[in-house]
């Protein structure tokens, strides 16, 4: 009887540990990759995160949505940011069905003046934007103005997002 109780307790504990581990993994996989205010030096998150399923993406980027849908977008998260109270920017995280979808979008949009980045699986930087992919995620960070410190600031934010993907 006593040994049965012990076995039961051990079994429950084992199940709890497995469930906790699975839960932790699940949490990490679905965690919000958009940093909160102060998580990256100088950056404030200035809006709530908005999430759009593929079928609703037109509400956010009508006209642009089709290219993401054809590349297999599953959902899109977006939020506004401000750097040192001045430079406004927007971050879009497109979660595609697979890495090929993210690759397709990144490669389609590149221009000759793109600077390659060692970020995620691949990335490019411009004066006012950073775009990179990691696994099925495609991230666009766009500043609304061109300022001398914008490239470095955007890159810092990009690294923080990459670390959360």
């Amino acid at each position: 009887m006593k040994s049965c109780s012990i076995r039961c307790v051990l079994a429950v504990a084992a199940i709890a540990i497995v469930a906790l581990a699975a839960g932790t993994g699940c949490k990490k996989h679905h965690s919000n990759p958009l940093p909160e205010s102060g998580a990256v030096a100088g950056w404030q998150k200035t809006s709530d995160t908005r999430v759009f399923a593929a079928k609703d993406l037109w509400q956010y980027i009508d006209g642009d949505a089709e290219q993401y849908i054809s590349a297999g977008v599953v959902s899109t998260s977006t939020s506004d940011y401000k750097y040192q109270g001045q430079l406004e920017a927007v971050v879009d995280v497109y979660t595609m069905g697979d890495a090929n979808g993210a690759r397709k979008i990144l490669e389609n949009g590149q221009t000759r003046d793109a600077k390659s980045l060692q970020l995620g699986d691949a990335g490019v930087a411009y004066a006012q934007s950073v775009i990179f992919r990691k696994g099925p995620s495609l991230v666009r960070i766009v500043a609304y103005e061109s300022t001398p410190d914008a490239p470095q600031a955007l890159l810092a934010l990009a690294h923080a997002i990459e670390a959360k993907l």
Binding site: W58, I61, D62, G63, D64, A65, E66, Q67, E88, V90, G109, T111, R112, D113, A114, Y126, A127, Q128, S129, V142, A143, Y144, E145, S146
Partner: protein, 331 residues
């Protein structure tokens, strides 16, 4: 001396009584054809529009607007010019375009300039409605939502709602915004010039996608013939009478969203009544910039704006796209 900002504030609160009754009254009295039967389109430019700042200089934008309208109407006095475009007792909608977000939306300085001249031409502040799809699009232009009729009103179709009954012409079967159908007597389009991933170019006619409930249903076939069909719907065709097109900044590739790597500054306004001629002119401007940037033509990219020719065909009759029939005035 009252500053321009003070004037706008006073006018917006109804403290300034302006304008006399227009003898010509409501739009439609303009003859957008020259003697040779051509459609007039004016491109007005100011290379110094931005100065050293990211945003255009408000005074220069107002001066540019005055120059464009004066050239179009042939009248030097800007207020008199506007009286020939609108009447004092009509509700005038200004359909902006904030879809692309803060980086590529109708410029606030231009919206202010048009509002100012409309009020000086005798339109009551509350009879001006600045509108778009929703609050987000309007806020992207830097606007604040206001439904108080004592001031210039500003709200989206998310506030007004859409008509229950769809209307149709050709492939376009749509529910129109009640701002268009019930609030406005006439609409002046204030689109911003952009490349468009599917349509090729978005400007005067494509801006009307923002007046329907489900614009994504009109995207098939490069938006052709949907753009033309939508503009041919009587309410759209008859109420949208004039375009003050914003080509202050633009994206020549990657649109309609904001892609700063493809941003360029034409520092221009494109105005006219013939929406087809205006769009044809805007398209050529985009193509010239694509050539400068070494980007393939829209034809080569597989997305020429075919809807422009469709809008000009006999079935639609919305205007002309033949350069020989467009009287282009560049000032």
């Amino acid at each position: 001396m009252t500053s321009r900002r003070d004037f706008l504030k006073e006018a917006a609160t109804g403290a300034v009584v302006l304008g006399s009754q227009s003898k010509l009254g409501f739009a439609g009295m303009l003859d957008h054809h020259t003697e040779a039967g051509k459609s007039k389109v004016v491109i007005a430019r100011d290379p110094q529009l931005h100065g050293t700042g990211a945003q255009p200089d408000e005074k220069r934008v107002l001066a540019l607007l005055d120059r464009a309208i004066a050239t179009y109407t042939g009248r030097q006095n800007p207020v008199e010019s506007w009286k020939h475009i609108v009447g004092p007792n009509k509700v005038v909608g200004l359909k902006t375009n904030g879809l692309g977000g803060k980086g590529i939306s109708t410029h606030l300085a231009l919206i202010h300039a048009v509002c100012e001249r409309l009020q000086q031409a005798g339109v009551k502040p509350g009879n001006i409605i600045v509108w778009d799809r929703n609050a987000r699009d309007l806020q992207a232009c830097g606007l604040t939502i206001n439904t108080d009729p004592s001031r210039v009103r500003c709200f989206g179709s998310d506030v007004s709602g859409y008509e229950e009954q769809p209307v149709a012409w050709g492939t376009a079967s749509v529910k129109l915004s009640k701002i268009l159908t019930r609030e406005c007597d006439m609409v002046i389009g204030l689109p911003i010039l952009k490349d468009h991933e599917m349509a090729g170019v978005t400007f005067a006619m494509k801006n009307m996608y923002g007046v329907v409930e489900k614009p994504f249903e009109l995207h098939a076939g490069g938006c052709n013939p949907s753009v033309a069909d939508l503009n041919r719907i009587p309410t759209v065709r008859d109420k949208v009478r004039f375009t003050v097109g914003d080509a202050i900044s633009s994206v020549y590739q990657g649109g309609p969203g904001f892609h700063p790597e493809h941003l360029w500054y034409p520092n221009a306004l494109i105005v006219g009544e013939d929406r087809v001629a205006v769009d044809h002119t805007a398209w050529q401007m985009i193509e010239r910039q694509r050539a400068v940037a070494g980007v393939p033509t829209l034809e080569a990219a597989g997305r020429p704006p075919r809807y422009i020719a469709t809008a000009a065909d006999a079935a639609h009759g919305l205007g002309v796209n033949d350069p020989q029939r467009i009287h282009l005035m560049e000032v």
